[in-house]
Structure formats: C-alpha cells, structure tokens
Symmetry: C2
C-alpha cells in the first residue's frame, strides 16, 4: 500500500485496514454446478412462502416495514414456546450475532468460542474491536467446557450443532456451561432442525442465554435473510436498541411468517436430508473417509493426515463444489452439504472416479 | 432498575444500557389514516419492480444471495455515472451509515454533523461508542461550514437535502467542505431526487467523500430496504469488510435493479410530489406557517415561538399523522410529508377546521 493511499485512508480504523474481511462460500453464477459448499437446502421452500412473497409484491412496499417484525415474532413465539417479547428477528442470524456483539462488547473485551467453528465469529469480533479468544475442540469435537469457561468471555459463542463438524453438544452440557459463565452465552442453532436438540428452554432458567435460529437452512430461505433470537426479555430489550431501525423488509417478514405456518413442509425436507445424510455417510466411509456423526445438513469427512485440497480441486473440476478450509485442524477434511440424492450420487461418482 | 436486574445484565455495555434507542416514526397498523409522518412516497413503485419481485418468488430463494449485489451495483454505476467498484449496496442507507461508522469510528472518536438533522445519526454513533459532536444550523438552515469543519470529525455527516428542514446546501459548499475536512465526509442524499443537486461527482475529486442514496423515498421502496453508497474505490473496499456478509436479500436486489431500469416512472412520481409540494407550501403559508424551501418530499412548517404539539395531536385525532419533534429547535414546527393531493387536502381541511 502506498504512502499516499495510506494517508488518504487515515479516517479508516487501523484494525479495519488490517482486516481481510469474511470470505463467503463461492456462489457460482449459473452453469451446471452441483453446489454442496454453503449448506443450502436442496429442496424448495413451502408453497405458502412463495404465495406470501407474491402477495408482498404490492404497492405497500412504498411503506416502511414493521421495525420490530411483530407478526413474525408473535408466530415464532407460538411455534417455539416462548413469549413474544423473548423474540427478536434479524436480517439473517448473522445480523443477530452482530447485534449481540454491538450490545455487549467494547474494545478489547473477550469473545470466546471453541474452534474450529463458524468462521464469521472472528470477523465480527474484529469489526467491533473485541478480542477473539478460543480453545480447540478435541479431534472428536467434544466441547471443552472447562476451557471455554476459563476464557471468561463477555460473550461466548457455541455453534450447536457445530459447523463445520456437524457434531452436537448435549443440552445438559450447555445448561451447565450457562450456569458457570458470567458473560452471555449465545447458542447458535442454525442447524438445529436437522438434529434433535435445542437449548431454547434455557432462556427461561438462565438470564444470560440467547439462542439463535435461522430460516436459511431447514426452511430453505437463505436468499431472504431471516434469523430469530430467543432470550430473556431484558436481554432482548438491550439487543433491540442496537439493531438497524428497519432491519427486515416486508417480503422477508411475510415469507418467514408463512414458513412458520407450514412446519410440516420443513420437517418433510429435513427428513429427506437426514435419509440422504445417512447414505452419504455410509458411502463416504466405504471411500475411506472418517465421517463425524452429523446433526446438520452437512458432513465433515476426514482422511486423517491426508490434505484434501487436491480432492477439493478435483471435485471442483468435475463440477462439484464442496468446502475446503485451509486451516491446520481442517486440511484433512472436506465439508459436504447434503444435497439431493442425485447431487450426492454425482459427488460420489466423482470421488470414485478419482480413486 | 433493580440491583438484581443490573447484575443480570452485567454483560451488556454500560453505554448501551444507558441508551434509549431510536424511535422510528409511527407505523399505524391498518385503519384509515392519512400518513404524512415518515416521508414515504405516496405513489406506488414501477410495475417493473413488482414484476421483478414476483419473479424472485421462486425456488431460488433457497440459495444465498450475491453477497456483493453485483447486478444492482453494476446497474447503479451506469445510472449514476460511476465505476461499479465505486458502489456498495446496503440494507437501506441506514445500514450504510452503520458500515461507515464501523469502519472509521473507534471509542471516543468524534462524529460531526450540523443539527437538527436525521436523528438516527446520534443513535448510531452511540452504538459504535463514538462521540457525537454538532453545531446548530441557523434559523434558515444555512450550513455552518466553519463550525462543522472545526468539529474535526473522524466522520462528518451532512444530510443534503437536510431532514427535517428540507433545505439544501449547494454543491460548491459541500465541495469546499470536503477539501477542508481531514476525516470522511458522508453526504446523505436520501432525498436528492426531489431536488436538483447531487454530490456524486465529488467522489472523483476527493478521496474522503461518500455519497449515500436510498430507494425508500423517490423509488417508493421503503418496505424493501435498499440503499447505495458511492465513494472512491479504496474507501468502498474498506466499507465492504465490515458489512454483514449477505446484507441484501434476493428480492431487494432484484427489485432495486428493476427500479433503476424504469427511471421515468420514478421521475414522474417525483414531478407529482413537487407539484403538490408547491401547493402545500402555498396553502400552509396562507395558514400562517413559515415554510422553508424544500428540495425533498416533505416540508417543515413553522409558527415561530408557537409550540405545535397541540396541532400535531389535533391532526392525529382527525386521522392525519404528521411528525412533531420534541426538541428545542423544532417545537414550533411540524414536518409534513408530501402525500397525494387528496391526502394534502385532508391535512389542510383539518388545519382549517381547527382555526
């Protein structure tokens, strides 16, 4: 960077200038690609959702949306068994993560999480000027409770089920951790619908627990950006102060509300994904991969000690996108989204052809 | 606040706990209300926009949106005569304001603006832990250039045309101010389409100028949350680092792009608003209001020294919502959105009836 440019950007925070920024998973524009790299749902959303979207395409878009997305929060409260004032909606759960950090984290405050996990956490902590502190999961992705508690984060993130491992930490462990933590525990349940466990009930027993959900995965709505936060009312009230004033648009509010009115559709899609996940796990095992038990819509497939970058590139060349992470703990792994059976067949065929 | 609750919220930043949060303008839920309080466009968006929204209601919503909204930015670059890498799209220009603050402002850094202006600025500065510093406009809302420059903000916001005054500062003055400021100058042009002036060309001459636009006003898309930032490429690259990873959803991207493909529609609506604005100004003057010259889709009507809260309440009781600001400089004023001619007739009738 030239001196001239340096002085031109003197109004940018030095820590931001030093940042590289988050790299989202690749989004190919058209072409015949088997897209198993960003954990999208291979099945479409409920017809009720698409109907709600069409209805929202009306002259009423000239008006601001409801800043609190009240209709959505009310319906979410019914579905998840909480009070409406224990719910907050976000422009994706990514925005809710940012709201938590904005509300809690000042310069240098510690934000704790076990790693490897959702890589956006680190970026968001950098943005708010916090200090990311972490402890490693063990090789089987068992949560190091003592280690996490000792980090004493102002905020602690636990992605549960975890990405990119797909593994889940039992509710009792989360419960115990919430009791031991003085800071806020955020249980990021983006993938929970593909498993069996949720920590939502903890918000009734702990003043410091927030649970996040997203419509991007199980509800097939990654393109609409809607997430939900559940937490004690006093915490939700503080988070609401730091959200963008009109954070959700009219279409997303209507679509997410409609999605919650057709849970059967979502559950049927989840069931299909689970069946395919079991088959994928079995076939990858036959191909000499260790596959961690997954409670999500992806699997982490590892060949201990064998760098998978070449396999990732070979798959890419064959038109199959999966996720490879260039990190010490993950170089021997591929994260593979559970697609349709046809997509998984294409993946497996490409892997077999390369043997 | 009880001690127990205090200790329960110990993980929330003290400055956030002390905040009251931003109060958006009232959004009545149904009923026959003449809504002249939040500067929405009284006319619908282009049919092309609604068509694009319906097209976006497809199975593709299961996929993440383009994180950089490239189609929209490319089209915006054509329309506004800048390069595509000088454009960034936001979830409303509110999100772009926040991105600027995230990128530039550390704890205690000064953020400067003349007041009264868009009240969200103060809230956003509080959220990032900055220090809001301001100088008053004079009674005619002439920008106090020296005063603003002396505040030496890391970031300086100039809402131009200004809200809630509706007045505009000439381009030459903005240009001069940009030269004198060491920090970043953000020209918030949410209402520029209703006037005649824009500072977009300044991004070619100044390394420290960012111009913001919104689709909420002239394009009748407040409900979809889309804003644009124009600025030098190096600045845009820094802002991109701190944006939410997928900040715009698929529908908003498609709708805003379509809106830019039907500028004639927007301009025809703007022309109608301008004609009604002239009539409203004339009639309010007859009713003993001083009305500032407006380059926006609202007017600030004042009766010097006469508190307008009672008038605001009377109008409200008559089913006409306008905006009253309980601030020393604005208590003798009402901010009235330029609605349809019928809506303005209803407002004027209510005002006349109350005399």
């Amino acid at each position: 960077m030239s001196t001239e440019r340096d002085s031109e950007l003197s109004f940018i925070r030095p820590d931001v200038r030093a940042m590289t920024g988050y790299t989202p998973g690749e989004q190919p524009r058209g072409g015949r690609v088997v897209k198993l790299n960003t954990n999208e749902n291979p099945y479409p959303p409920s017809p009720l959702v698409l109907e709600a979207m069409v209805s929202a395409a009306s002259d009423a878009v000239r008006l601001y949306p409801d800043p609190m997305a009240s209709d959505l929060c009310r319906r979410a409260a019914e579905v998840y068994g909480v009070a409406a004032d224990q719910v907050l909606a976000g422009n994706g759960s990514d925005e809710l993560l940012m709201m938590v950090l904005r509300a809690c984290v000042g310069p240098g405050d510690a934000v704790a999480y076990p790693v490897p996990t959702y890589s956006l956490y680190e970026t968001l902590v950098q943005i708010v000027g916090g200090r990311a502190v972490s402890v490693p999961f063990d090789r089987d992705f068992v949560l190091p409770v003592d280690g996490v508690v000792e980090l004493a984060g102002k905020v602690t993130f636990v992605c549960n089920p975890n990405a990119p491992s797909g593994t889940v930490t039992p509710l009792a462990v989360i419960d115990e951790m919430a009791s031991r933590l003085k800071g806020l525990l955020v249980v990021d349940e983006a993938y929970a619908d593909f498993g069996t466990s949720t920590a939502t009930e903890l918000i009734e027993r702990h003043p410091n627990v927030v649970v996040l959900r997203t419509f991007s995965k199980s509800f097939s709505l990654a393109g609409l950006r809607v997430g939900l936060a559940f937490g004690p009312q006093p915490v939700m009230a503080e988070l609401a102060k730091v959200k963008d004033s009109y954070n959700l648009n009219r279409v997303s509010i209507a679509a997410a509300t409609a999605a919650l009115n057709d849970l059967d559709w979502m559950r049927a899609n989840v069931e299909k994904v689970r069946r395919t996940r079991a088959r994928l796990t079995e076939e990858l095992t036959k191909l000499d991969y260790d596959v961690l038990p997954s409670d999500t819509n992806f699997v982490l497939a590892r060949q201990p000690g064998i760098n998978q970058e070449a396999v990732y590139k070979m798959l890419r060349a064959a038109g199959v996108l999966v996720r490879y992470f260039d990190l010490p703990a993950l170089r021997d792994a591929l994260r593979i989204t559970v697609g349709t059976d046809e997509e998984i067949d294409a993946l497996l065929a490409a892997l077999r052809a390369a043997r």
